[in-house]
Assembly symmetry: C2
Protein backbone atom coordinates (compact mmCIF):
# COMPACT_ATOMS: atom_id res chain seq x y z
CA UNK A 1 0.00 0.00 0.00
CA UNK A 2 2.08 2.92 -1.28
CA UNK A 3 1.41 6.62 -0.87
CA UNK A 4 1.08 8.01 -4.38
CA UNK A 5 0.84 6.42 -7.80
CA UNK A 6 3.74 7.61 -9.93
CA UNK A 7 2.36 7.56 -13.44
CA UNK A 8 4.03 9.28 -16.36
CA UNK A 9 1.65 12.18 -15.98
CA UNK A 10 2.96 13.25 -12.62
CA UNK A 11 6.68 12.63 -13.05
CA UNK A 12 8.57 15.89 -13.05
CA UNK A 13 11.00 15.43 -15.88
CA UNK A 14 10.43 18.29 -18.31
CA UNK A 15 12.68 21.33 -18.45
CA UNK A 16 11.36 24.85 -18.78
CA UNK A 17 12.30 25.25 -22.43
CA UNK A 18 10.11 22.32 -23.41
CA UNK A 19 7.32 23.63 -21.19
CA UNK A 20 7.59 26.94 -23.02
CA UNK A 21 7.15 25.16 -26.34
CA UNK A 22 4.29 23.01 -25.10
CA UNK A 23 2.34 25.78 -23.42
CA UNK A 24 3.26 28.76 -25.55
CA UNK A 25 3.99 30.72 -22.38
CA UNK A 26 7.20 32.66 -21.83
CA UNK A 27 9.74 31.44 -19.32
CA UNK A 28 9.10 34.64 -17.45
CA UNK A 29 5.44 33.76 -17.09
CA UNK A 30 6.16 30.20 -16.04
CA UNK A 31 8.61 31.32 -13.36
CA UNK A 32 6.27 34.04 -12.19
CA UNK A 33 3.43 31.60 -11.61
CA UNK A 34 5.82 29.63 -9.47
CA UNK A 35 6.73 32.75 -7.53
CA UNK A 36 3.00 33.21 -6.92
CA UNK A 37 2.80 29.63 -5.65
CA UNK A 38 0.58 28.30 -8.38
CA UNK A 39 3.01 25.69 -9.60
CA UNK A 40 5.76 23.69 -7.91
CA UNK A 41 8.45 22.24 -10.14
CA UNK A 42 11.19 19.98 -8.82
CA UNK A 43 14.81 20.90 -9.31
CA UNK A 44 17.83 19.13 -10.71
CA UNK A 45 20.91 19.02 -8.48
CA UNK A 46 22.15 21.98 -10.53
CA UNK A 47 19.00 24.01 -9.92
CA UNK A 48 17.12 23.64 -13.20
CA UNK A 49 13.35 23.35 -12.95
CA UNK A 50 11.58 20.09 -13.81
CA UNK A 51 7.87 19.93 -14.62
CA UNK A 52 5.34 17.13 -15.15
CA UNK A 53 2.65 16.82 -17.79
CA UNK A 54 0.17 17.65 -15.05
CA UNK A 55 2.07 20.84 -14.41
CA UNK A 56 1.80 21.71 -18.07
CA UNK A 57 -1.96 21.21 -18.03
CA UNK A 58 -2.22 23.28 -14.90
CA UNK A 59 -0.14 26.04 -16.48
CA UNK A 60 -2.51 26.22 -19.41
CA UNK A 61 -5.49 26.48 -17.10
CA UNK A 62 -3.73 29.23 -15.20
CA UNK A 63 -2.95 31.07 -18.43
CA UNK A 64 -6.60 30.91 -19.43
CA UNK A 65 -7.74 32.39 -16.15
CA UNK A 66 -5.16 35.15 -16.33
CA UNK A 67 -6.44 36.00 -19.78
CA UNK A 68 -9.91 36.19 -18.30
CA UNK A 69 -8.63 38.78 -15.86
CA UNK A 70 -8.41 36.53 -12.82
CA UNK A 71 -5.51 37.50 -10.55
CA UNK A 72 -2.89 35.02 -9.42
CA UNK A 73 -3.99 35.45 -5.83
CA UNK A 74 -7.55 34.44 -6.65
CA UNK A 75 -6.35 31.49 -8.68
CA UNK A 76 -4.31 30.40 -5.70
CA UNK A 77 -7.33 30.63 -3.40
CA UNK A 78 -9.33 28.50 -5.82
CA UNK A 79 -6.61 25.91 -5.90
CA UNK A 80 -6.41 25.77 -2.13
CA UNK A 81 -10.17 25.30 -1.94
CA UNK A 82 -10.05 22.56 -4.52
CA UNK A 83 -7.26 20.83 -2.66
CA UNK A 84 -9.28 20.90 0.55
CA UNK A 85 -12.24 19.32 -1.17
CA UNK A 86 -9.97 16.66 -2.58
CA UNK A 87 -8.38 15.91 0.78
CA UNK A 88 -11.79 15.56 2.33
CA UNK A 89 -12.82 13.06 -0.30
CA UNK A 90 -9.55 11.19 0.07
CA UNK A 91 -9.95 11.11 3.83
CA UNK A 92 -13.45 9.74 3.48
CA UNK A 93 -12.27 7.01 1.14
CA UNK A 94 -9.48 6.15 3.53
CA UNK A 95 -11.85 5.81 6.47
CA UNK A 96 -14.14 3.66 4.36
CA UNK A 97 -11.14 1.56 3.46
CA UNK A 98 -10.22 1.06 7.08
CA UNK A 99 -13.75 0.11 8.08
CA UNK A 100 -13.84 -2.22 5.15
CA UNK A 101 -10.57 -3.86 6.14
CA UNK A 102 -11.83 -4.41 9.70
CA UNK A 103 -15.42 -5.36 9.15
CA UNK A 104 -15.64 -6.38 5.52
CA UNK A 105 -18.03 -5.00 2.97
CA UNK A 106 -20.42 -2.74 4.86
CA UNK A 107 -22.24 -1.02 2.01
CA UNK A 108 -25.79 -2.07 1.11
Amino acid sequence: MAAAESSYKDKKVITIGIVRELTGLSERQIRYYEERKLIFPDRTPGGSRKYSFSDIELLMEIANKIEDGVQTYEIRQEMIREKRAMDKKTHHKMIQGQLNAQFGIQKR
Copy 2:
Protein backbone atom coordinates in the same frame (compact mmCIF):
# COMPACT_ATOMS: atom_id res chain seq x y z
CA MET B 1 -9.30 9.40 -37.91
CA ALA B 2 -5.79 10.61 -37.03
CA ALA B 3 -2.50 8.85 -37.60
CA ALA B 4 -0.97 8.33 -34.16
CA GLU B 5 -2.27 8.76 -30.64
CA SER B 6 -0.07 11.24 -28.77
CA SER B 7 -0.24 10.11 -25.17
CA TYR B 8 2.15 11.30 -22.50
CA LYS B 9 4.13 8.12 -22.84
CA ASP B 10 5.27 8.83 -26.37
CA LYS B 11 5.87 12.56 -26.20
CA LYS B 12 9.55 13.33 -26.57
CA VAL B 13 10.12 15.96 -23.93
CA ILE B 14 12.84 14.64 -21.64
CA THR B 15 16.43 15.82 -21.86
CA ILE B 16 19.38 13.47 -21.64
CA GLY B 17 20.35 14.45 -18.12
CA ILE B 18 16.98 13.36 -16.79
CA VAL B 19 17.16 10.19 -18.83
CA ARG B 20 20.51 9.50 -17.24
CA GLU B 21 18.97 9.85 -13.79
CA LEU B 22 15.94 7.74 -14.65
CA THR B 23 17.82 4.91 -16.32
CA GLY B 24 21.11 4.97 -14.46
CA LEU B 25 22.92 4.86 -17.79
CA SER B 26 25.71 7.25 -18.72
CA GLU B 27 25.14 9.89 -21.35
CA ARG B 28 27.83 8.16 -23.37
CA GLN B 29 25.82 4.94 -23.37
CA ILE B 30 22.59 6.68 -24.26
CA ARG B 31 24.19 8.49 -27.18
CA TYR B 32 25.94 5.34 -28.33
CA TYR B 33 22.70 3.38 -28.53
CA GLU B 34 21.39 6.14 -30.74
CA GLU B 35 24.48 5.90 -32.93
CA ARG B 36 23.72 2.20 -33.26
CA LYS B 37 20.15 3.08 -34.31
CA LEU B 38 18.42 1.55 -31.31
CA ILE B 39 16.81 4.75 -30.16
CA PHE B 40 15.63 7.89 -31.94
CA PRO B 41 15.27 11.02 -29.83
CA ASP B 42 13.88 14.25 -31.22
CA ARG B 43 15.92 17.42 -31.10
CA THR B 44 15.31 20.93 -29.84
CA PRO B 45 15.98 23.73 -32.32
CA GLY B 46 19.33 24.09 -30.56
CA GLY B 47 20.23 20.44 -31.03
CA SER B 48 19.56 18.97 -27.58
CA ARG B 49 18.09 15.48 -27.51
CA LYS B 50 14.53 14.90 -26.32
CA TYR B 51 13.27 11.48 -25.19
CA SER B 52 9.90 10.00 -24.29
CA PHE B 53 8.97 7.71 -21.41
CA SER B 54 8.75 4.93 -23.99
CA ASP B 55 12.31 5.68 -24.98
CA ILE B 56 13.36 5.37 -21.37
CA GLU B 57 11.71 1.96 -21.06
CA LEU B 58 13.34 0.88 -24.28
CA LEU B 59 16.72 2.07 -23.05
CA MET B 60 16.40 -0.05 -19.94
CA GLU B 61 15.53 -3.10 -22.02
CA ILE B 62 18.52 -2.42 -24.22
CA ALA B 63 20.77 -2.07 -21.19
CA ASN B 64 19.56 -5.42 -19.89
CA LYS B 65 20.33 -7.16 -23.14
CA ILE B 66 23.76 -5.58 -23.35
CA GLU B 67 24.46 -6.85 -19.86
CA ASP B 68 23.46 -10.30 -21.06
CA GLY B 69 26.08 -10.05 -23.74
CA VAL B 70 23.77 -9.30 -26.64
CA GLN B 71 25.39 -6.99 -29.19
CA THR B 72 23.77 -3.81 -30.41
CA TYR B 73 23.57 -5.20 -33.92
CA GLU B 74 21.55 -8.20 -32.73
CA ILE B 75 19.30 -6.00 -30.66
CA ARG B 76 18.67 -3.91 -33.72
CA GLN B 77 17.76 -6.96 -35.76
CA GLU B 78 15.31 -8.05 -33.07
CA MET B 79 13.70 -4.65 -33.05
CA ILE B 80 13.33 -4.65 -36.82
CA ARG B 81 11.69 -8.06 -36.66
CA GLU B 82 9.33 -6.93 -33.94
CA LYS B 83 8.42 -3.86 -35.92
CA ARG B 84 7.61 -5.97 -38.96
CA ALA B 85 5.32 -8.18 -36.92
CA MET B 86 3.63 -5.10 -35.54
CA ASP B 87 3.14 -3.56 -38.96
CA LYS B 88 1.62 -6.77 -40.22
CA LYS B 89 -0.85 -6.80 -37.36
CA THR B 90 -1.66 -3.15 -37.89
CA HIS B 91 -2.15 -3.70 -41.60
CA HIS B 92 -4.51 -6.60 -40.89
CA LYS B 93 -6.55 -4.48 -38.52
CA MET B 94 -6.70 -1.71 -41.09
CA ILE B 95 -7.98 -4.01 -43.79
CA GLN B 96 -10.57 -5.39 -41.39
CA GLY B 97 -11.60 -1.86 -40.61
CA GLN B 98 -12.04 -1.02 -44.25
CA LEU B 99 -14.11 -4.12 -44.94
CA ASN B 100 -16.12 -3.30 -41.89
CA ALA B 101 -16.74 0.23 -43.09
CA GLN B 102 -17.92 -0.97 -46.48
CA PHE B 103 -19.88 -4.06 -45.59
CA GLY B 104 -20.64 -3.74 -41.92
CA ILE B 105 -19.83 -6.32 -39.28
CA GLN B 106 -18.54 -9.36 -41.12
CA LYS B 107 -17.24 -11.50 -38.27
CA ARG B 108 -19.18 -14.56 -37.15
